[in-house]
């Protein structure tokens, strides 16, 4: 692979390109403008160019909101660089705005002096009014803080497709490719992967395919040949250091789906029944698994959330790996059935792709406010393990771990992701398959001494005895069962004993998971920043920057939220202050205080957006200076 990204077929000469360590670009337009596709293709070309990257797709709940409105704006942000990239970036270096509404919503995030590409052709009076402008910002000097590139992309696109037999509507719809072509040029990116993608997508409509390629090339050529303002440069972002191996980009949803398949194979089970009901932002996992029958996956789109979890429980009872997936409101509906899985001690993986709430909330926006629900939100004493993924690629390992815990301990397990993780993508160094864990399941077959709640003395897990096994016929259900025989029992002492055993089984998992490590910094000192889930990126980057600035601060990121790792309390007590940034109103911080009586302080943001690095860094500075630790809260 060539190391100079500008060399083969690239735009401009290396000398003309300004070297940048990293860049943040956001493509923004109407929800029908194809911004997610534009961003995804730029991501692919950037990954192929060897940069590290993180993305943040941010789209409205409405599928096609009225054109030109601010609430219909869809955006895709990518942060890429020659260095380790942890987040989708705070401030934008480049903003592409396909209409006035996109400009209005997104301009505040563009850094001063940043590049602003707008489709001037879309800045019509009508669109300006819809976006709330009284004057056209292109001409009134209000954008003088930025390097404005006002191009009539609609007209340039039309010119590029003149020779093709497509409608003007189809031509208009391809103008995102023009913008993509220009930005690919700007950063010296190849176009081949995008051209391949276009040819495949429009394989049945060759005229449209050719037109889209022509538009992409036209945008690229424009950058190469047009007389751009002299202070507008083409950039070069070099490859990021990376371990040798095979890479791909992966979203959290993909990594979850593949991790479940990995878990299925590691458990040596023949079949996974993945039962789910459509809900944003969890549905992509269902879509990905729907075509994996050859891998032993049967997907079941149930009539509702309750049926989904109940079908998964039925599947586990019959010897398959039962999995269900949803988001907060759907998880709430599954709660009673979770109790059944806990009572009958059946393996089950429950994925919660959290979103902003309560109720419908902000369905397409991210939050991590289901932690209480996952850890505590059931009637009666109903403990179950809860684990969380930190990054898109981490979802693979965590999904496998969820399968391991579920099958080894005969318990439902919560796997927490969120809307950001589900949709965000990053490069992933594909794992060495031989090095993946194996945890083969052994179904009970021996009738000698069998009853359905006979337990493994080490794990306290009950035997998994499945229908079809002669001599093990038994009845289980939600009514309390006798510890001694597995039969229905209303005995008070037995209920006490069974409650204790269920709790001890889950608590015992702490002995079977790794001790809590420190992600960055020392294992003790004046300040620890403690997080869980998708806040990993911004916390890590903020701690890194604070440490570079000389502050003594460590980053601890918790994967196992129930039970906590066995050393967590001791580790936390070695810090003077504990700052817990969360995209909720203070949930992990409460659990930590309750479990360990430590003076943890929250940094809470519930805006539906991921933390900015600067927000956390400001809080670290405030805490290091002896402030209240909340200086940077958004």
């Amino acid at each position: 692979m060539p190391t100079d990204t500008t060399a083969p077929g690239g735009a401009g000469t290396a000398a003309a390109r300004e070297l940048r360590e990293s860049a943040v670009i956001r493509f923004a337009g109407d929800s029908g403008d194809g911004m997610q596709i534009t961003g995804s293709q730029f991501t692919l070309e950037t990954a192929l160019a060897g940069n590290d990257l993180a993305t943040f797709p941010d789209y409205p709940a409405e599928i096609r909101a009225p054109a030109g409105t601010t609430f219909g704006v869809s955006a895709f942000q990518i942060h890429f660089g020659a260095v380790d990239i942890q987040t989708a970036g705070d401030d934008l270096d480049v903003l592409v705005a396909m209409n006035p509404a996109a400009l209005r919503v997104n301009l505040k995030d563009l850094r001063r002096g940043g590049t602003l590409v707008v489709d001037a052709g879309a800045f019509t009076e009508r669109n300006l009014i819809k976006a709330g402008y009284t004057a056209n910002p292109i001409g009134d000097g209000s954008l003088s803080d930025y390097q404005l590139l006002a191009l009539e992309i609609d007209r340039l696109t039309e010119e590029a497709v003149k020779e093709f037999d497509i409608t003007s509507k189809e031509a208009f719809r391809s103008r995102n490719m023009w913008a993509l072509g220009l930005v690919l040029w700007m950063y010296g990116r190849e176009r081949q992967a995008t051209i391949d993608w276009i040819m495949k997508k429009f394989a049945d409509e060759p005229e449209i395919a050719k037109a889209n390629v022509a538009v992409l090339n036209a945008g690229h050529a424009f950058g190469e040949t047009a007389e751009l303002p002299s202070d507008l440069h083409a950039y070069r972002v070099e490859r990021a250091p990376a371990e040798p191996g095979v890479y791909r980009t992966v979203s959290g949803a993909e990594a979850v789906a593949w991790g479940l398949v990995g878990g299925l194979k590691a458990a040596g089970l023949e079949r996974m029944v993945f039962a789910s009901y459509p809900i944003t932002p969890a549905s992509p996992v269902l879509h990905l698994l729907a075509s994996l029958r050859a891998h032993g996956v049967v997907t079941f789109q149930a009539e509702d959330e309750i049926a989904a979890i109940c079908a998964a429980i039925g599947a586990s009872y019959a010897g398959a790996l039962g999995v269900t997936s949803s988001s907060g409101p759907g998880i709430a509906l599954k709660t009673e059935a979770l109790g059944l899985a806990i009572a009958t001690e059946l393996p089950l993986v429950v994925i919660d792709s959290q979103r902003a709430g309560p109720s419908t909330g902000l369905p397409t926006k991210t939050e991590q406010s289901d932690l209480f629900q996952a850890v505590l939100g059931r009637n009666a004493d109903a403990p179950m393990p809860v684990i969380a993924a930190a990054t898109p690629s981490d979802c693979f390992e965590v999904a496998m771990e969820a399968v391991r815990l579920a099958t080894k301990y005969m318990t439902p397990v919560f796997l927490m992701t969120d809307g950001y993780l589900a949709n965000a993508a990053e490069p992933w160094h594909l794992p060495d398959l031989d090095a993946l864990p194996r945890f083969p399941v052994r179904f009970r077959t021996d009738p000698e001494g069998f009853h359905p709640f006979v337990r493994d003395p080490a794990t306290l897990a009950r035997a998994w005895a499945i229908p079809g096994t002669p001599g093990l016929e038994h009845r289980i259900g939600g009514i309390e069962r006798s510890y001694e025989s597995g039969h229905i029992s209303y005995d008070p002492d037995n209920h006490q004993q069974m409650t204790k055993v269920r709790a001890a089984k889950v608590a015992g998992i702490a002995q079977d998971i790794p001790e809590q490590q420190v992600a960055l910094g020392e294992a003790g000192g004046p300040l620890a920043v403690v997080g869980w889930g998708s806040t990993f990126g911004p916390i890590h980057q903020a701690v890194r920057q604070a440490r570079a600035a000389g502050m003594a601060v460590s980053h601890i990121h918790i994967r196992y939220l129930a039970p906590f790792p066995r050393n967590l309390g001791d580790l936390l007590r070695r810090f003077d202050r504990i700052l817990v940034p969360e995209m909720n109103n203070g949930q992990l911080v409460t659990l930590l205080r309750a479990a360990y009586l430590v003076p943890a302080e929250g940094l809470n943001q519930v805006s539906g957006k991921p933390f900015k690095v600067s927000t956390i860094e400001a809080a670290i500075r405030a805490a290091s200076a002896g402030g209240n630790g909340k200086g940077g809260a958004a």
Partner: protein, 342 residues
């Protein structure tokens, strides 16, 4: 998940579990349990391959009393759990036991969809027109005017027809039986067992404590002959002690009318012949209600179609997949000398 078969022939008593049955003395559930145990023996059911799944309610204690695999789940959700069992292992012989509250109220949505999907399950709905386990509240099948703790002045909601609901949901097998009519109930259950796909059987079950005698207007010995229409495919729809009464279609008003052979020139040729594959006829038959008309019993509708899980597994799955191939699908790239940078 291969399944071994056993040569030995089991007796009804072999399908009784070691658990003490805890229904009220005189409950119709005893008779149904007996009929099911006989059916299991008669059809040569294999204990380890048979699963009873139930929800919550008096009827849903059923699995504890059968010596097969059993899963007593949560209120209304048995059809969903049973669907999962079938998806995990389609070779299992799976029965769902539910009641009018469990199956038609809290679990109505699951019942609708399990029938629509045609999952290969035998669904026995014990209809006693009352909530028994919660001490006697009116249910979705209770007749108007039912006095109960929650309707002290009598209920005014119109009741749901269990079989009408099942037919409307697209069920391919709809049948009815009476708890104490053993021979007929056993035959209906055998037909249900032989049917591939969802078999819906409504069983009129007398609750001796909270709704005793609610079906007397057609189950009492004295009126049984006149008030029961036992349907049989290909046979005329006749009832009455001497089979002199019949069902005729009034084509002008598209409804069924009761006729007496020999009166007004009516002959047996005027009487409808039961066609169990005719959904419209089935809808008309389940609409007959006592005391105005005899209640239709037996296999009212049977029109098989591929079952859900047979469709799921009947479609090509492709070559057995390797995890490595899955992860490499799409665009990948290789870093050979990772540290060199630009």
């Amino acid at each position: 998940m291969s399944i071994a078969t056993k040569p030995e022939r089991l007796q009804p008593k072999d399908f009784a579990s070691d658990q003490e049955v805890r229904w009220c003395p005189g409950c119709g559930d005893y008779a149904i349990l007996k009929a099911v145990q006989k059916v299991l023996a008669d059809v040569g059911a294999v204990r380890e391959n048979t699963v009873f799944v139930s929800g919550i309610g008096c009827s849903s204690r059923f699995p504890y009393y059968v010596s097969t695999y059993g899963f007593h789940t949560i209120h209304g959700r048995a059809p969903a759990v049973a669907t999962g069992v079938k998806l995990a292992n389609p070779a299992l012989d799976v029965w769902v036991v539910t009641g009018d509250g469990d199956g038609l109220s809290i679990g109505g949505n699951h019942m609708l969809h399990v029938l629509r999907r045609n999952v290969d399950l035998k669904i026995l709905l014990f209809n006693n027109e009352i909530y028994g386990l919660t001490k006697g509240q009116y249910s979705p099948t209770s007749r108007q005017g039912t006095k109960s703790p929650s309707t002290p002045g009598g209920s005014f909601e119109r009741p749901l027809s269990a079989c009408g609901f099942a037919l409307g949901a697209g069920a391919r097998f709809v049948a009815r039986g009476i708890d104490i009519q053993q021979p007929q109930l056993v035959e209906v259950l055998k037909r249900a067992h032989a049917h591939r796909g969802a078999s819906f059987v409504e069983i009129f079950q007398n609750c001796v404590v909270y709704n005793d005698g609610v079906f007397d207007d057609f189950t009492e010995k004295a009126v049984a002959a006149e008030m029961q229409l036992h349907v049989e495919h290909g046979k005329p729809l006749l009832f009455g002690k001497e089979k002199k009464r019949g069902i005729r279609l009034d084509p002008a008003r598209l409804r069924l009318e009761l006729v007496t052979l020999g009166e007004n020139g009516v002959g047996v040729e005027d009487v409808l012949v039961h066609d169990e594959t005719n959904r419209l006829l089935a809808q008309l038959l389940v609409g007959l209600e006592a005391p105005e008309a005899p209640v239709a019993l037996g296999v009212i509708f049977c029109d098989p179609a591929p079952s859900y899980e047979s469709e799921v597994y009947g479609r090509p799955a492709g070559e057995p997949g390797e995890l490595g191939a899955l992860l490499r699908k799409g665009r990948t790239w290789e870093v050979e000398d990772g540290r060199s940078g630009g």
